[in-house]
Amino acid sequence: MNKKAFLLAEETIKMVIALIALTFLVYFLTSLYFSNQNEKDLGLAKESLDFLVQEIQSGNKQVEIYNPSGWTITSWENNENMPKTCSNFAWKNCICICKEDSYTRRVIGLSEDCDEYPACADSNFQVSGARNWYKKELINSIVISKPFPIQLNINGNQITKNE
């Protein structure tokens, strides 16, 4: 019997198993990290949305939003394609701060992203903004991005970004 060949096969199997285990471990740790990060950002999103609604109700014409970085302020009206977070409460209009996943948004729409980490409120105010990204125009959205803080203008029931 060729012992060398047998050992080689054994070692290979061990290495493959170790590699698979390592891949799972890395995947698990990465997921844990991002899930934790998203939870932190969701906390910030809820606070920012509360602040925005409160400032609008106080009649302020300008509001600064500081975080979470990379998330999107968006709105829906007349119950159309709303995230479940809003439609479950039978809100007619809805304003949210959501973590935008480019893949999900292109395939399913932003409402799906808003359901994953929901920070939404019932509000008649509509976000007005347009941008081209991946050749698909996304209206009614403002990205919280540098330079911070972003300045929002409140005009009538429209929320626009002060560029």
């Binding site: 844990l32 934790n36 910030l44 509360d50 106080s58 330079p147």
Partner: protein
């Protein structure tokens, strides 16, 4: 004569109840005066900052829980459109200097609280994901009420930092020593441009600190020479973490741009 025992008991009860209600009212009054909500928010923030630093987990699973305070410094009126979470009343007099001192005292308190909440420059609460990041903590946004706005004077930064230099925070130290770790306002590392500014009561101001990680010192804002190690040429060492000294600036987009914060860690 027949005594109505029940009536006697009712009188006793009424007196007892009245005393109870008055005592409760007095208790409530003092509790409200203590402003425990504000204290709790600041305590929560400080604890979360310290816990974050002490967390041995490299993923830092615990989040900071710090809120921006919206402070209205009032001479009796309200701050109009500014929705404040804290109102600080000061008694205005006919003397300009006394009024200025009282306003500066409130600002100094806010600054000292901010410095304490974020670990007095000794605690690492930043989780840098890349190079050259700057993480900012917006402790307070400050506005003044119509009464103070109506005053025809302002406070220069020179005056304010002189006040911090000469006013004791407690029995142990002065505000300036506590916040900037030096008893001399000329040694705090602030630029001339920063110290030549004015506190104008019609404007809003923010108090900010934070942490940064720099490649070299070129990336830092022009207001401060950051604390930390330097090489023989006075340049920051690579990947040097530094503390953004406590800064008070007018709330304008230009000032935010100058600060160049990559992220805000405080809740709105």
């Amino acid at each position: 004569m027949r005594t109505i025992k029940k009536a006697e008991l009712t009188t006793q009860q009424i007196v007892g109840l009245t005393i109870l209600i008055i005592s409760f009212g007095v208790l409530l009054f003092f509790l409200a005066r203590l402003n425990l909500q504000e204290l709790t928010d600041k305590e929560i923030c400080h604890n979360s900052v310290v816990l974050y630093d002490k967390n041995p987990n490299p993923l830092k699973s615990n989040a900071l829980d710090c809120r921006t305070s919206y402070v209205c410094i009032s001479g009796g009126g309200d701050c109009g459109d500014f929705s404040s979470t804290i109102k600080r009343e000061i008694k205005l007099t006919s003397d300009e200097n006394t009024n200025k001192d009282r306003i500066m005292k409130q600002l100094a308190e806010e600054m000292a609280d901010c410095w304490w909440m974020f670990g007095e420059g000794k605690v690492d609460y930043a989780n840098f994901e890349g190079f050259g990041n700057k993480i900012c903590a917006m402790c307070s946004v400050i506005a003044f009420d119509k009464t103070i706005q109506g005053k025809d004077y302002s406070i220069t930064y020179e005056e304010f930092y002189k006040f911090l230099e000469s006013t004791p925070k407690d029995e142990a130290e002065f505000y300036l020593s506590y916040i900037y770790n030096t008893p001399d306002k000329n040694k705090i590392g602030a630029s001339e441009d920063y110290l030549s500014r004015k506190l104008i009561f019609t404007e809003q101001y923010f108090i900010l600190t934070g942490m940064g990680k720099s490649w070299i010192n070129w990336g830092l804002n022009k207001h401060w020479l950051p604390m930390g190690f330097e090489d023989i040429f006075g340049r920051k060492l690579f990947d040097q973490e530094y503390v953004i000294p406590l800064t008070i600036l007018e709330k304008t987009p230009e000032n935010f741009e100058e600060l160049g914060c990559d992220e805000f860690i405080t809740k709105a």
